[in-house]
Point group: C2
């Protein structure tokens, strides 16, 4: 019985998916060395993008985590995709291992795909970021409309790990790929210089950095600005009932540790900004319940092919049973089909509906 | 096997306790009709104080929850005790059903105990509140030092439910007991008048109200002010890792629903106050870790009998394995022994220690 339970447990971490007539297996939860999002197309394995730990202090974090010089790259606030060729066909896989109909539709707009023609064994790891993406609110200030793509790593099909940084940069340059900005190469002791970069990013609305050790083990860590923590709270507070409850507290803690180490003085504007980050979305959720009887987030994104908009909505509906997706419009605007849709947040809708109509809560 | 598991499950919700040579059974978790904190001293049962649901909206909450006039009583911000006589001995039981050595030590200072001599069948339900209590930070502004006791209900030994409000008030008057202020008697439709009371409490630092239906079923609900939610966040943020993670989000939600219904305008001071409630304690926790390598809360309280101070520390240590208690001082001051102690918060100490020394976190 125990053996069978273990087997069942293991089997349930891999599930069958299809995209059109392409069938594959997707790892839904870390399975031994295989990260979540690893995809198996027959004999071709596309490894999942590994999860990267976070430091909350720069001086001690650099000292403890790195034993060689490191590259500092800007962390772009978007969603992670792996772009690769499987059976002669280009795919764009989300972190979780789904084929993303939106990314795929727009891929030719976002990057030159020659790299995959000439190196079909490569997997391009990139962040797609911008105000018109179908997955998340929040985007880098420099992407003022639509979306842009930023390559930050290259992997090889069938292999874990990344190409060395210099090899990656040479390929990015050769194929003219858009890339996450490389902000410098530093010794682990140079926390003050890296701190200055973070302060600039904090002032200009950047999310933070990914630190990549310049060594064979290619160890990584991420570190984010205080303003990005406030921005996260502001943009996701309506989803509180869908997110792990620690989500908000972790961000307040990051914020405080960043400000303390960077010696950024606490002023009224900071406290006010943090307070408003909590208040704005909740007041707006109350208005939504009063006037529309539901709490939702609105998304907008553009497609080349109308059918991909429909595929995307099916994909989002299938991916999270907690979220109800309502299409608002799908209209031709210039060269694109512009899709607008709402993600209804049923847990928050339910809770606010209950308490606003006079229900009791126990806590 | 299932039957035994169920039996074990049931048995584990009752546990044996002793206080001196007094042995009793304590219900650790709701068990059928018996609330948590119910205590069985041989044949004498002292029912636990029932948990009371909360409304987050006044107009709809009054309409939905009450079908008769209701009393509005001020909710005092302290800890709940049941004071009763068992085998000729006066006891003070906490919400969870432990005998509280602090309350017991100070009981003669806090209330006239004649009521139990003349009515040994009564159980006095009261809040002990003030800056010098050993359990929680936060207290009613009117209790400027030490602690005070506020009777809010009377029960009978061996019986669930409360004495009717008028009978309770008559006994409180007859025995000159300190009581939670009764703020009025209203129809469920009078939400605007009750709202005015809440606005006054909000301005003067009151916690909120308990609404008690004037009927045989004696249905209750509580409703608290926005400022008490901010104050809760401020006073407990250091304990975030010990509290349920929803604790903070629930309070922000209560706050927003209160302000919206009471039409209190959102100003800069409000956002700033909420932001600071999150920031103050976390900045102070960072300082504690930097200088003392641990995060703690400091408590101070006074005793008549020195041995009760020692009993209290043993009680707190036994009650929560997550909390380490460090006695700082126990000194005679006037008629009292003044105890100062710290509750070290190991989860927060561990987390901050880890990240401040450069550790990685995954989320």
């Amino acid at each position: 019985v125990i053996a069978r339970a273990a087997e069942t447990g293991r089997r349930s971490r891999v599930c069958s998916e299809h995209f059109g007539n392409l069938r594959y297996q997707r790892v839904t939860d870390k399975l031994g060395d295989l990260p979540r999002g690893t995809c198996m197309f027959g004999e071709t394995v596309i490894w999942g993008y590994p999860s990267i730990g976070r430091i909350l202090r720069l001086e001690s974090g650099l000292r403890e985590q790195f034993c060689a010089p490191l590259w500092v790259e800007e962390k772009m606030d978007g969603y992670n995709v792996r772009i690769c060729q499987v059976a002669g066909r280009v795919l764009a896989l989300t972190r979780g291992g789904f084929v993303c109909p939106f990314t795929l539709d727009r891929l030719a707009d976002l990057m030159d795909l020659r790299i995959l023609d000439e190196h079909p064994e490569l997997v391009v790891c990139a962040e797609v970021a911008g105000p018109e993406n179908p997955y998340l609110h929040g985007h880098p200030p420099r992407v003022a409309e639509d979306v842009a793509l930023f390559v930050f790593d290259l992997m090889r099909r069938g292999m874990p790990g990344y190409l060395p940084q210099r090899e990656k940069l040479a390929l990015i340059e050769r194929y003219g790929l858009p890339a996450a900005p490389v902000l410098g190469h530093f010794q682990p002791t140079e926390w003050r210089r890296i701190g200055e970069i973070l302060q600039q990013l904090n002032a200009s609305g950047g999310e933070g950095v990914v630190l990549k050790e310049d060594s064979a083990r290619s160890h990584r860590a991420k570190y984010v600005t205080s303003n990005s923590s406030i921005s996260d709270i502001r943009l996701t507070i309506q989803s509180i009932k869908q997110l792990p409850p620690e989500y908000f507290i972790n961000r307040v803690l990051r914020l405080v540790l960043f400000l303390d180490e960077q010696q950024i003085s606490r002023d009224r504007a900071l406290a006010e900004g943090l307070g408003d980050a909590f208040l704005d979305g909740l007041f707006s959720a109350i208005e939504q319940v009063k006037h529309e009887h539901r709490v939702y987030e609105r998304y907008r994104c553009r497609f080349r092919d109308r059918r991909n908009a429909e595929r995307l909505l099916r994909r989002i509906r299938a991916g999270d049973r907690h979220i109800q997706v309502v299409q608002r419009s799908l209209e031709r605007v210039g060269d694109y089909y512009v899709l607008e849709f709402d993600k209804v947040l049923p847990n928050m809708t339910g809770l606010l509906g209950h308490v606003m109509s006079g229900g009791l809560v126990y806590d």
